[in-house]
């Protein structure tokens, strides 16, 4: 008998409630109460059902494991997916702790894929428990999502989950996608501050790289290696290289055979690591009065190159390094996730943001560049 694939499902029932009533996010019980008073309706349930509908054709091949009531059971039942329900919650009074508990149990139960519904906070909760130990995928239901771990729509998330679970390794592969975390208090005060919290392993459709006509094609790792090779081929002597956060810049450090701080900023000088996980003051000290260049990646789905996930590289640091010494790296795959939208900068320094705007050559491979527009 064929072994069934195990699909975990965790729904954050309150994610997205703030949006419809003009609140920014729904973290914290007071905000949630306020949202309910303003007439907020749960969005997660409907969105989860929209995603699960895309899994009904593989019903016989999967075992759906989920949490009780509105944390997944109701949605699974609505789609006739006969879930195995685990865990205990207080009906109608769930919290982020329930999300983490559920993720804990999914990890223990070794599900093949963890599907979760929510926003940035939910992704962060899930990530804090599973790290890179389980493949996961988000069904978007947050007010404003900065993380790249979500399907473009609930339907697309469901579709992707079905492809992944059906073992279609031709079309679907795993990649590392950013979990971004917003300070919701600051956000409600109209200040935006987001940091890179980590990376979840998510399935993605390899379509952008498929070579049905050519037969055989470079995968994501090959593209990253090519980017790394390009950057180090062009490295200048006696110049400090500030290496930003993320997986694309990691390729540069791998090409140099140096340790890389995935969520932090490192510095390289003449091929040697001269600083790891540097803060703004340390970075400024390095670049001030010295020849320096900054190498940054692009936040998937969002397009930010400065101001999200790399605040250490502040306006003060960038102003010192100068615009022409900024090197942006991204795979074509990542550029495609932007859907034609420009790259974004939000350094907190309006003048600098305007100065950084315009066209920028982005390194996409060895000797390959794409012209992309940068906007403030």
């Amino acid at each position: 008998m064929k072994t069934k694939k195990k699909l975990g499902l965790i729904v954050n029932p309150i994610a997205g409630m703030g949006g419809r009533v003009g609140l920014k996010g729904s973290d914290g019980p007071e905000i949630l109460e306020r949202a309910k008073e303003l007439g907020a309706r749960p969005e997660s349930s409907k969105r989860t059902i929209d995603a699960l509908k895309r899994l009904t054709h593989i019903r016989e091949d999967i075992e759906l494991v989920t949490y009780p009531h509105d944390m997944g059971e109701n949605e699974a039942m609505a789609c006739n997916l006969s879930p195995r329900v685990i865990g205990k919650i207080k009906k109608g009074k769930t919290s982020d702790q329930d999300t983490r508990n559920a993720a804990e149990e999914m990890l223990r139960g070794e599900v093949d894929l963890l599907l979760f519904t929510g926003g940035d906070g939910t992704a962060r909760d899930i990530y804090s428990v599973i790290g890179d130990k389980l493949p996961a995928l988000g069904i978007p239901s947050g007010v404003k999502i900065h993380s790249a771990v979500y399907g473009a729509s609930p339907g697309k998330a469901g579709e992707l989950a079905a492809l992944y679970l059906s073992g279609n390794t031709y079309e679907v592969r795993l990649t590392e996608a950013e979990v971004m975390d917003i300070d919701e208090q600051a956000f409600r005060e109209d200040r935006l501050s987001a940091r890179l919290f980590g990376f979840l392993k998510v399935p993605y459709v390899k379509r952008m790289l498929q070579c049905a006509k050519a037969g055989g094609c470079a995968g994501e790792q090959d593209a990253l290696n090519a980017i790394g090779a390009d950057v180090i081929n062009n490295m200048e002597a006696d110049c400090f290289y500030i290496i930003g956060t993320g997986t694309t810049t990691r390729a540069v450090m791998e090409a140099l055979d140096l340790n890389h701080t995935l969520l932090g900023v490192d510095a390289v000088f003449n091929g040697e690591l001269v600083g790891s996980d540097l803060n703004e003051a340390e970075l400024f000290e390095i670049v001030e009065g010295n020849k320096a260049k900054i190498v940054v990646g692009v936040i998937g789905s969002q397009g930010y190159i400065f101001g999200r996930g790399n605040q250490q590289i502040s306006a003060k640091v960038i102003n010192n390094v100068k615009k022409d010494n900024i090197i942006v790296v991204a795979t074509m795959e990542k550029i495609a996730t932007l859907g034609g939208a420009p790259l974004l900068v939000d350094t907190g320094d309006e003048k600098l943001d305007i100065d950084l705007s315009g066209y920028k050559q982005v390194i996409t491979g060895l000797g390959e560049r794409v012209m992309l527009k940068v906007e403030a």
Binding site: G155, N168, Y170, C211, M332, G340, G358, Y359, Q361
Partner: protein
């Protein structure tokens, strides 16, 4: 919505044909050649003795041993299981799958043509040299450029030829090191970028502006003293013609670069626009697309590559020249980039193109472009009514000979994607359509192209099949996703074809990778 014709039922023959290496038995032969008579053998010796000792192979080749009727049956079965160009409506976009008139085929198969040898003395091949020269003259007229070569056997080889000419041009000025960047657009044919890279250039790719036109400001930002040239397609794969093309070429010229026009598919612009007036220094035409020779994957294809006068010295050698009434093969070309193909290229393709142009004349070529554009825009009117289709970019604007469409909406609503539909059309006896070059900027893409040789009935029938599949996607998506059901081979798992450990291009590789 227009009433479309009824879709006919179809089922392909399914022969479950073995691979020929698995057929026959030891000693089986197609032809038994009689033994040489002893008295003849005594005079001429053994046949083997004519092959130098060191060139003789030690082991017999591992060829299949199969009788003549079995071989014939095998290949006829295979042909029956293929949707050949002439057994169905093949609207494969960017490829310009037009009907190749049989009279041209008769010409190239005539003994006078088929028995030519490339090493014949030029005095004995004046006729074919005249055809090559005259086709060169026709293409000069069509493009406005000054000299063509027919050596490249495909479009990519023509763009590679150009990349080498480009380098030779800058090298002569002493700028080969400095000018190492080629600019192209993401919707130009990918070989523009690929062959530039192969020739050692860095490649800068422009993304489309929001309206789908190439982004002029991005071009200006990309151009510098490092620019070697621009390699661009127009209309791009989207079917959108860039009306500012002269501004593009002007900017590149001002910076000291050369401009190459990829006209692999020139079907929408024949007799309407010319490379020269758009400011291009070089271009190519795929004779196996626009000029009605069959396609052929570096087999019988031919790309005519042409340049303006001062670049002609770089063309691959030999070139055909005419002095008085006599044609020559000119090898004495010290600035030539060398050869890109053995001998003179695929001459049958040259002959077919010559014959095709002669049968149409200048007015006929213009009519080809007009009809193919009209056909495409008639197609548009029907396709946009089919549920689940989306047009991308330049809303409300006409396209030329093709368009990149999207099934994004259908995918969103049903889960059925363009690859599913591409497989399902085979169940109705149609060749799979072309989706898109990579990367897929337009999601769930498909790119139909009805060139001038398809009739209104053909277009409507093709649309009727798409209409039917769209209906199926909304009513029974699994039927489409699990297709094809009526073709010789059903849904295959692509994994093995995508994995170097399992794919096998040759029988030997197949045996090795499966431990046989």
């Amino acid at each position: 919505m227009k009433d479309l014709p009824k879709v006919r039922e179809f089922h392909s023959p399914v022969w479950n044909e073995p691979i020929i290496m698995e057929m026959g038995r030891k000693g089986e032969r197609g032809i038994l050649i009689p033994e040489t008579e002893e008295e003849i053998k005594a005079i001429v010796g053994e046949a083997e003795s004519y092959i130098p000792e060191k060139m003789r192979r030690k082991d017999m080749p591992k060829l299949p041993e199969v009788g003549q009727p079995q071989v014939l049956r095998h290949f006829l079965h295979l042909s029956q299981m293929c949707l050949g160009m002439e057994t169905n409506i093949d609207a494969e976009g960017t490829a310009t799958m037009k009907y190749s008139p049989k009279v041209n085929e008769a010409l190239v198969r005539s003994p006078e043509m088929a028995e030519l040898h490339p090493l014949q003395d030029e005095d004995t091949v004046q006729g074919i040299l005249e055809i090559i020269h005259k086709l060169d003259l026709f293409l000069r007229e069509i493009s406005g450029l000054d000299q063509f070569t027919f050596q490249p056997p495909g479009g990519s080889m023509a763009t590679f030829t150009h990349a080498n000419v480009l380098r030779a041009y800058h090298a002569e000025k002493g700028e080969a090191e400095q000018r190492n960047e080629v600019v192209t657009t993401i919707f130009s044919h990918p070989c523009n970028a690929a062959t530039s890279a192969t020739a050692g250039f860095k490649v800068i790719t422009l993304m489309p502006a929001k309206d789908g036109y190439p982004d002029f400001d991005a071009l200006k930002a990309a151009i510098s003293e490092r620019t070697a040239g621009l390699m661009i397609t127009n209309p791009e794969d989207t079917g959108i013609y860039n009306p500012r093309i002269k501004e593009f070429t002007d900017v590149v010229h001002e910076a000291g670069g050369l401009c190459f026009y990829d006209q692999a598919n020139a079907n929408g612009i024949l007799g309407i626009t010319r490379a020269k007036e758009a400011g291009f220094d070089a271009c190519h035409f795929n004779l196996h697309k626009t000029f009605s020779s069959p396609h052929g994957s570096f087999g019988p294809g031919c790309a005519a590559y042409g340049v303006r006068k001062d670049l002609a010295k770089y063309l691959p050698k030999p070139v055909v020249t005419k002095h008085g009434d006599k044609y020559h093969l000119d090898y004495d070309r010290p600035d030539s980039i060398g050869k890109v193909r053995e001998f003179h290229g695929n001459i049958p393709a040259v002959s077919r193109a010559y014959s095709w142009i002669m049968s149409l004349g200048a007015e006929g070529l213009l009519e080809v472009a007009r009809t193919s554009v009209l056909n495409n825009n008639y197609l548009t009117k029907i396709l946009e009514e089919i549920k689940g289709t989306t047009r991308y970019y330049a809303q409300g604007q006409y396209r030329l000979e093709q368009e990149r469409w999207s099934w994004e909406k259908l995918t969103e609503e049903t889960g059925v994607g363009t690859q599913d539909i591409q497989r399902r059309v085979v169940d109705y006896g149609l060749q799979s359509f072309f989706m898109s070059h990579h990367p897929w900027i337009v999601p769930e893409p498909f790119t139909p192209e009805f060139c001038e040789s398809y009739s209104i009935d053909d277009i409507e029938y093709w649309c009727a099949v798409l209409q039917k599949i769209s209906d199926e996607a909304y009513s029974d998506p699994d039927l489409v996703k699990s297709s094809p059901h009526r073709s010789p081979i059903h849904l295959v798992k692509y994994e093995d074809t995508d994995n170097p450990d399992t794919w096998a291009i040759t029988w030997r590789a197949y045996l090795k990778k499966r431990g046989k």
